[in-house]
């Protein structure tokens, strides 16, 4: 298949992830949608790496995976902490940033 198809799929997954972040109320699911976005970026990287014929994109994709893992770890830690303190697990309820 042409590389262009893979890029189109990547864009589609990315946008689906964006809409998920905007629409869902549970921080857990929002994190999942963030994962979607990261994976879309990974797909694009791998596609370009194939296109150019060098491995830089693949290495980058591995690093992105590492970062995603870290972020998931910390994010889930925050959600667990929220749960521990009996805060509602709902981004619409948590409005401390309101000015």
């Amino acid at each position: 298949m042409d590389i262009g198809w893979f890029l189109a799929v990547s864009a589609l997954i990315f946008v689906i992830g964006v809409s998920g972040v905007l629409t869902r109320r549970s921080p857990l699911v929002i994190l999942l949608c963030l994962e979607l976005m990261l994976n879309a970026a990974n797909l694009a990287l791998i596609a370009f790496s194939r296109m150019h014929g060098n491995h830089d994109g693949q290495i980058f994709a591995i690093i992105v995976m590492v970062v995603a893992a870290c972020e998931v770890t910390v994010g889930l830690g925050v959600i667990v902490a929220m749960h521990r303190r009996r805060l509602p697990i709902d981004v619409d309820e948590l409005q401390e940033l309101q000015g």
Binding site: V18, T23, D92, Q95, L97, Q98, G99
Partner: protein
């Protein structure tokens, strides 16, 4: 040259040093020490003025206009402002009169204000006033003149409202100051009009360039001179800026004597005399001055016949006599006008001093209706008052006779429409005789009032409860109000000394300039006025004789009328008042000038102020500008705050929107 400059500076600086010295250490001196200190400073100033005179006369005839520069303030863009004194016969004449009469008034005040809690303050203010007046006179350029002018106005305000806890006094002080400021504005604007063409602020340079810079009758020059006249009229209490002078009698009597008779009110006369080259190039402005002077002398004379407050009669008399002086110097009779200035200083100060003595005998009461019969109990005061009155009425051989007739002579000599002024001058002289002796007869002749009887018995009347004689308000004698004691001339040697000296001068002062016989003033002032086209006039002998005879006759007629009405047949006064009731009302109400000014100026100003506060301030400034600005900021920040919802998803949406926009931008530009 240098000795002249030195003496001139000393003349100017002694009163300043006196003011500072009295202000700083006066309170520590015992008894009347502050008074002696202030008087000493003035005496030194007078001696320096004499020194200046002597040294100036020692100079060559053609080098008698000396400029003593101390400091050069600005020499940029054609503006030559310097701290400089102009020592010439005119200024030396004026400083002699001012410092001499001031010294005598200081001597008088040493005892007159003895029990007043503000004694030290009084002498500090008086010295400051003399310093300001001397600055005004000795100024060599417009800048220093304006500075002196403003200081004199300030000193006048401080001294009129000297008894500052009296409501009437503070209001009078404010009135005087406001009208003076109006004059200041006129003076400054007039200076500007003249400066625009001559491009110099120095007097001698201005006068030298005047002929090239202005054609005769130039519109700018006429406007500038009329504005200068506005300043002169405000300071010299001419119509229509005269309403402050009668109210200024709220100040202590020495203040009235010094400022409002002998010195400050003559500043306008000095101004016109000093600016005579400019006025001669703008004859319409000079004519305005002459006409206003004439109107003032008549109106003031009529008012003086009707008012009943002793000091106010003398105040209106001052206004009238200054009208003569202004009429004189506006018509080219410079030496005559200044001569009258000098003699007027003598006899008017004398009259005020005597009036002060009478008022002290009446324990502060100033109403003529309540006075009478002081002749036996106060002979010295009576004598001084009569001498002053005779000089004022223009009876030979007293000084007022010669000076007043000199003015009218020179005016008549100009011919043309000046004959009208001539006639008015003599009508005014008649009025002068009437009101002066009305005052004297009512106060000293007739049945003695209780205060006079008390004094004859040897006891000076003392009010139990001190009240303001104008409105009856009760006052205590603490600071800010007049002191508890009163001092009359018969008991105070310093008052006698001052009044005696002035009486002597009032008698012999006229001999300086007897027509055709002595020309002391004429020749003395010649270097200043030599460039004037009016200076070398020589009136005919016939006119001189006619004037002298007419003057004497008119003066005596005035005295006679006064004697008839107020001594011989007292009921004529009452019946005349009834028959001429509308005229009397007009005179007693001072020709309603106060009411007219209130209607035309004060009410609109108050209305404007109220409108500004209620409408403009509230709606425009607070509402629109302040409120509007804050409203806009608030609305803007509310709009921005709407974005701070606290919802995570909104923020994410904003990020997405931003990304879309930025990507779009870059796509477009690629």
């Amino acid at each position: 040259m240098n000795a002249v400059k030195l003496f001139a500076w000393l003349t100017l600086l002694f009163p300043l040093a006196g003011c500072i010295a009295v202000g700083l250490v006066g309170r520590k001196l015992p008894g009347r020490g502050a008074g002696y200190l202030g008087t000493g400073a003035l005496l030194l100033s007078f001696l320096s003025a004499i020194g200046t005179l002597v040294k100036l006369q020692g100079q060559d005839e053609h080098h008698r206009q000396i400029v003593a520069v101390a400091w050069d303030y600005a020499h940029t863009t054609g503006l030559d402002a310097q701290l400089a004194l102009l020592v010439d016969p005119l200024s030396v004449f004026m400083i002699l009169v001012v410092s001499g009469v001031s010294t005598l008034i200081h001597v008088y005040s040493i005892s007159y204000l003895d029990s007043d809690r503000g004694y030290v303050r009084f002498f500090a203010y008086l010295n400051f006033f003399v310093f300001s007046m001397l600055t005004l006179i000795l100024a060599a350029n417009f800048v220093l003149l304006i500075v002196g002018w403003a200081f004199v106005g300030a000193a006048s305000y401080m001294l009129i409202s000297f008894w500052y806890r009296r409501g009437t006094a503070t209001r009078a002080g404010i009135k005087a100051f406001v009208i003076n400021v109006l004059g200041d504005v006129g003076l400054v604007l007039g200076t500007f009009f003249i400066f625009r063409h001559t491009h110099t602020l120095d007097f001698l340079s201005t006068f030298a360039h005047a002929k090239e810079a202005f054609k005769p009758g130039d519109a700018d020059l006429t406007a500038g001179c009329i504005l200068l006249l506005v300043g002169a009229f405000a300071k010299s209490a001419q119509i229509p800026l005269h309403t402050w002078l009668p109210d200024a009698m709220e100040g202590p009597t020495p203040v009235s004597a010094l400022i409002h008779a002998a010195t400050m009110v003559t500043a306008g006369v000095y101004l016109i005399a000093r600016m005579h080259p400019l006025f001669e190039l703008a004859p319409s402005a000079a004519d305005v001055g002459a006409v206003i002077g004439c109107v003032t002398l008549l109106v003031a004379g009529t008012i003086a016949i009707a008012v009943t407050d002793l000091k106010r009669v003398i105040a209106y008399s001052t206004m009238s006599q200054i009208g003569y002086m202004i009429m004189g110097v506006s018509s080219g009779a410079y030496a005559a006008g200044l001569f009258h200035l000098m003699t007027h200083a003598f006899f008017k100060a004398l009259l005020f001093m005597a009036a002060g003595s009478v008022i002290a005998a009446m324990a502060g009461q100033q109403n003529l209706d309540k006075m009478g019969g002081f002749r036996k109990s106060m002979p010295f005061t009576f004598g001084c008052m009569v001498i002053g009155g005779l000089a004022l009425a223009g009876i030979p051989p007293f000084s007022g006779f010669f000076s007043k007739d000199e003015i009218l002579l020179m005016i008549g000599d100009r011919g043309g429409w000046h004959w009208g002024l001539y006639v008015a001058g003599y009508v005014g002289a008649l009025l002068t005789g009437v009101y002066t002796f009305r005052m004297i007869f009512r106060a000293f002749l007739g049945e003695p009032v209780p205060e006079a009887l008390e004094l004859e018995a040897g006891h000076l009347h003392h009010a139990e409860v001190h009240t303001n004689p104008a409105d009856g308000e009760v006052e205590d004698t603490d600071v800010g109000f007049p002191g508890a004691d009163h001092h009359i001339a018969e008991r105070e040697p310093s008052m006698k000394l001052a009044m005696g000296t002035l009486a002597l001068l009032a008698v012999v002062g006229g001999f300086l300039q007897i027509p055709k016989v002595t020309h002391v003033l004429d020749s003395f002032l010649a270097p200043t006025f030599a460039d004037s086209k009016f200076y070398e006039r020589d009136p005919t002998g016939g006119l001189i004789a006619f004037g002298l005879v007419l003057g004497a006759a008119v003066g005596l007629a005035g005295i006679g009328i006064a004697y008839l009405i107020w001594v011989k047949n007292p009921q004529i006064a009452a019946s005349a008042q009834r028959r001429l009731a509308p005229l009397h009302t007009l005179f007693v109400n001072k020709w309603y000038f106060d009411e007219i000014i209130d209607l035309l100026v004060v009410r609109p100003a108050q209305w404007f102020g109220a409108w500004a506060q209620q409408t403009f301030e509230r709606v425009v400034v607070n509402g629109l500008l302040v409120g509007g600005t804050t409203g806009v900021v608030r609305a803007g920040s509310s709009a921005v705050r709407a974005a701070q919802t606290g919802f995570l998803r909104y923020y994410t949406l904003l990020i997405v929107v931003g990304t879309v926009v930025v990507t779009f931008y870059f796509l477009m530009n690629s």
